[in-house]
């Protein structure tokens, strides 16, 4: 395949960025999207130009590093996948592909397509844990039985990879799906009950301080989430928050 790529280039956080056109040929449908960018980069380097910076690591859809806003969609046109799992067979010869960073006030650009998602970390420093010492001298694991349905639901929420696609695809740049998933994981487990009140209040407070927008229930986040995290988690967080506020 031969393709035209329109890529956002921005030297650093304080520079003004712009879209730049590149053409690339001989793209195989078996390549992943990131492998296609590797090819582009090695061509650029060989020509003495600067390669395009983008985040990636595991390249199998689990670390949450890769981002990219491709043709107006977070992680591109395929459903239920991250950018590293997106394959070029989703595109056609002659396509023009627009590639931009995830845009949100709380995710400032570091360079080109890389954004700073450390706001997510700070939300978790505020309460994304169960306060238990790591000595291993706790009760036997089977002494805390967990209903299988709850365990599965909790696990589903916990599979969020922290990629930020929910924020990027939300018109308000809200982080509710991410925070909802984090709160839900603990809210569904007996171990998480003790601190439930403080946890949700602190995490939501930090989320607001980070400059994420509000949720207006458009649901774009759920559609673009590569891990299928459902809106149910936002509802659960809201219930937790309400209960906590009444108590609090």
């Amino acid at each position: 395949m031969n393709l035209t790529l329109k890529i956002w280039r921005q030297k650093g956080a304080n520079d003004k960025g712009k879209m730049v056109d590149y053409s690339i040929s001989d793209v195989s449908p078996d390549m992943s999207f990131l492998e296609m960018l590797d090819v582009l980069n090695s061509e650029l380097i060989t020509k003495g130009e600067e390669p395009v910076a983008f985040d990636h690591d595991c390249r199998e859809g689990i670390c949450g590093s890769c981002s990219l806003y491709i043709n107006g969609e977070a992680h591109g046109p395929d459903r239920g996948v991250t950018t590293c799992q997106l394959h070029m067979r989703m595109f056609k010869d002659g396509d023009v592909i627009t590639i931009e960073p995830f845009r949100a006030k709380a995710f400032p650009v570091i360079k080109d397509l890389i954004v700073d998602r450390s706001a997510f970390d700070r939300i978790q420093h505020a309460g994304g844990f169960i306060s238990v010492n790591t000595s291993g001298l706790t009760v036997d694991a089977n002494a805390i039985p967990v209903n299988k349905h709850d365990a599965d639901e909790s696990f589903m929420a916990a599979t969020c990879i922290g990629c930020g696609a929910c924020v990027a695809s939300c018109k308000n740049a809200s982080a509710m799906l991410f925070v909802g998933a984090k709160v839900s994981q603990f809210a569904l487990l007996p171990q998480g009950q003790v601190e439930a009140t403080d946890r949700v209040l602190n995490m939501v407070k930090q989320m607001d301080e980070e400059g994420f927008g509000n949720c207006t229930n458009t649901g774009a986040c759920e559609v673009e989430c590569p891990k299928g995290i459902s809106l149910e988690n936002i509802a659960r967080m809201n219930r937790e928050y309400l209960a906590a506020s009444l108590k609090g």
Partner: protein
């Protein structure tokens, strides 16, 4: 220097307890005055950082990703072992110890492995208390599954995302300490050297990957939890950023590097599809619990399949060769990884491979769909003879167990594994070699520790499934936090370590010179060009099967390639900005040195053991042939060029286990 493993005296089962009772402790009030650097925040580094901070030390933690949560441990799929005997199938500390030593082909250290088995049960308790959502049975208790090389069901799991959940557990423990100000986290920082003062590790030189700034950080001790070096092969199941730099720089500063040639080749990975490929994807070995591995019995059939003229599903049962079940009736599809990998390669080399390049075998779930489906139909009171219904019910069960893996496969290969068997082939996965450590996990440099995949101690020549996660967490949560206290108890009056000394200056200069050289080189080829070439040499000559002649030529080729790299590499951009090519160049430069030592180590080891197979040393049936005279750890001392490295041997004695021919028949 004579290698002293510092294994405590006394009976095996009491060693760890006795050791903990007698080593020196640091008074809680004094811990506040002690700084520890932890490089790496995967399962090993993350759990260590959290625990050390909780004990009261000041921890500075480093990782090159933008968040600890993205460390490569996140990718581990299958599960984590623990001798809980929840299934009542006869498991015990001793049995886990025994399986692990045998699985490692009697090339691991007895005392370390016993301790690992001993603390394994605590890991599960700890993780559950932290809210790790392990798989549960309907009664609310924890579920288990089984992995290659064992006959009990002792693996705890969270669907096919166990590493993710365990890492998020360790990360949440870290978050709590970061929130309390006890851990200072340095994301997007790469450690580029260890600083020694008076022979002791007292700090590191790190580069801020965003600004390019070179930083000095001091501490009373330095812990490396920097993962494995499988990416020396270019293609592996590791994350793209996984590298050997931290371990290699430590080696250059005096830490011995042990068993560099011990690499695990994992049998169930998605085969290579073309030259563009940047990495390989693992299909968890837990799939072998339910999948049956086969190739066609007749070469004509294999050829027809390769040409696309015959569908695997059309091949009759009697025309299939379930070669693992045939050769190893006791363990069948669940033989250890080295055995399964070699058997797959043997069949493909003999012309029975099933993908275009002839380098793939089938992993077939058809039988599992029917087995589970029948059970479901029975439970639900439906018609057990309705094949279509049974298959569908069975597929649903398989989906709950391995759904994400099936999805991953379909995305990459573009075939539906529920309808046609998966194609798999062995790939480089895990490195059992690493920095040499004693029983306290201290390297040959005082004050420098290595944990998790970065050290060498527990796995021997092979690693059984679900044991790396166990080791990483055991080291980080339960071992290092005790043993490091013994060393630090002598440092309570030392005070802050200044960074404006000649040692820091010298180390910083080495780092800066190296970077400037790379940036100013202005050669003609990008870094990947060299990395790919290195990978080809490694796979062809130091891969699953090796021989003296190939290894000798590999040593020369790697050394030549290294010279070419330094002459001709092209690194664009500058040093004082975000520059991924520069970071990569530094990593590949280190791989080019490690690769040569790897080949040298493989050449020296004239035996086959576990994942290390020397063509010259095999039994008449083609199984690995161990040699008693090689029952030692090879620990290499740095002396400049890899070719000058000096070998030190740590003899391995087995006092509690009878060393037997490893058999899975």
């Amino acid at each position: 220097m004579a290698l002293d493993a510092k294994i405590p005296k006394g009976p095996l089962a009491d060693k760890w307890t006795n050791h903990k009772n007698t080593i020196d402790l640091v008074n809680p009030a004094n811990k506040r005055n002690i700084d520890i650097i932890v490089v790496g925040t995967g399962l090993a580094g993350g759990s260590a950082a959290a625990t050390l901070a909780e004990l009261g030390y000041n921890v500075k933690a480093f990782c090159f990703q933008d968040s600890p949560r993205r460390a490569h441990s996140i990718a581990a799929q299958g599960g984590i072992n623990a001798a809980k005997n929840y299934q009542g199938d006869g498991d015990s500390t001793y049995r886990l110890f025994y399986d692990t030593v045998k699985g490692g082909d009697y090339r691991s250290r007895e005392a370390n492995v016993y301790r690992l088995a001993e603390v394994s049960a605590n890991i599960i308790d700890q993780c559950v208390a932290q809210g790790v959502p392990f798989a549960r049975e309907y009664g609310g208790l924890l579920d288990n599954r089984s992995f290659g090389g064992v006959l009990v069901s002792r693996t705890f799991y969270a669907a096919g995302q166990t590493g993710q959940q365990l890492l998020l557990g360790a990360y949440s423990a870290m978050n709590r300490q970061i929130g309390r100000g006890k851990i200072t986290m340095y994301n997007r920082h790469e450690m580029l050297d260890v600083v020694k003062v008076d022979g002791k590790a007292r700090g590191i030189i790190a580069r801020d990957l965003v600004s390019g700034e070179i930083e000095r950080h001091s501490a009373h001790a330095v812990v490396l939890g920097t993962g494995g070096y499988g990416n020396v092969f270019y293609l592996s199941t590791n994350a793209m950023g996984s590298n050997v730099t931290a371990a290699w720089k430590a080696h250059k500063r005096g830490a011995y590097f042990a068993n560099p040639c011990y690499t695990q080749i994992h049998p169930t990975c998605i085969p290579v599809s073309g030259e563009h490929q940047s990495k390989l994807t693992l299909m968890s070995e837990s799939l072998r619990n339910d999948g049956r591995i086969w190739v066609p019995k007749k070469k004509e059939d294999a050829e027809a399949i390769r040409a696309g003229k015959l569908k695997p599903t059309a091949l009759a049962e009697q025309d299939r060769d379930y070669y693992l079940e045939r050769r190893y009736p006791a363990f069948g599809n669940l033989v250890p990884r080295d055995v399964a990998s070699r058997a797959a390669k043997e069949r493909c080399d003999a012309g029975f491979g099933v993908n275009k390049t002839g380098e793939a075998v089938y992993l077939d779930f058809a039988a599992a769909f029917m087995r589970y489906g029948k059970e479901q139909a029975h439970v639900k009171g439906l018609d057990e003879n309705d094949d279509a219904l049974v298959k569908k019910l069975g597929q649903e069960i398989v989906k709950t167990k391995y759904g994400n893996l099936f999805q991953m496969y379909e995305k990459i290969v573009n075939q539906n594994p529920y309808e046609t068997p998966m194609m798999i082939y062995p790939a480089v996965h895990y490195t059992m070699g690493g920095i040499w450590v004693d029983y306290n996990l201290q390297t040959t440099v005082p004050g420098l520790y290595a944990i998790g995949e970065a050290n060498f101690s527990d796995h021997g020549a092979n690693r059984l499934g679900a044991s790396a996660l166990m080791q990483g967490l055991a080291d980080g949560y339960f071992v290092l936090p005790y043993t490091i206290g013994d060393y630090l108890s002598h440092d309570i009056r030392t005070g802050k370590i200044p960074t404006d000394t000649k040692e820091f200056e010298e180390a910083e200069k080495t780092v800066v010179d190296n970077i400037n050289h790379l940036i100013n080189n202005k050669g003609t080829h990008p870094v990947d060009y060299f990395h790919r070439r290195l990978g080809k040499i490694m796979w062809n000559k130091c891969g699953m099967a090796r021989n003296a002649e190939d290894l000798k030529s590999a040593i020369h080729e790697i050394s030549d390639l290294r010279a070419e790299f330094w002459k001709d590499v092209m690194v664009p951009g500058s040093a004082d900005e975000f520059n991924e090519e520069l970071a990569k160049a530094g990593r590949v430069a280190d791989f080019l040195e490690l690769g040569e030592l790897f080949a040298k180590d493989a050449l020296q080891r004239e035996e086959s053991a576990g994942g290390h197979f020397r063509d010259e040393y095999q039994t008449p049936e083609g199984e690995a042939m161990r040699r008693k005279e090689f029952q030692y750890v090879s620990a290499w001392e740095y002396k400049g060029e890899p070719k000058d490295a000096v070998l030190h041997k740590e003899e391995l004695s087995y006092e509690n286990i009878e060393v037997k021919e490893r058999s899975y028949k």
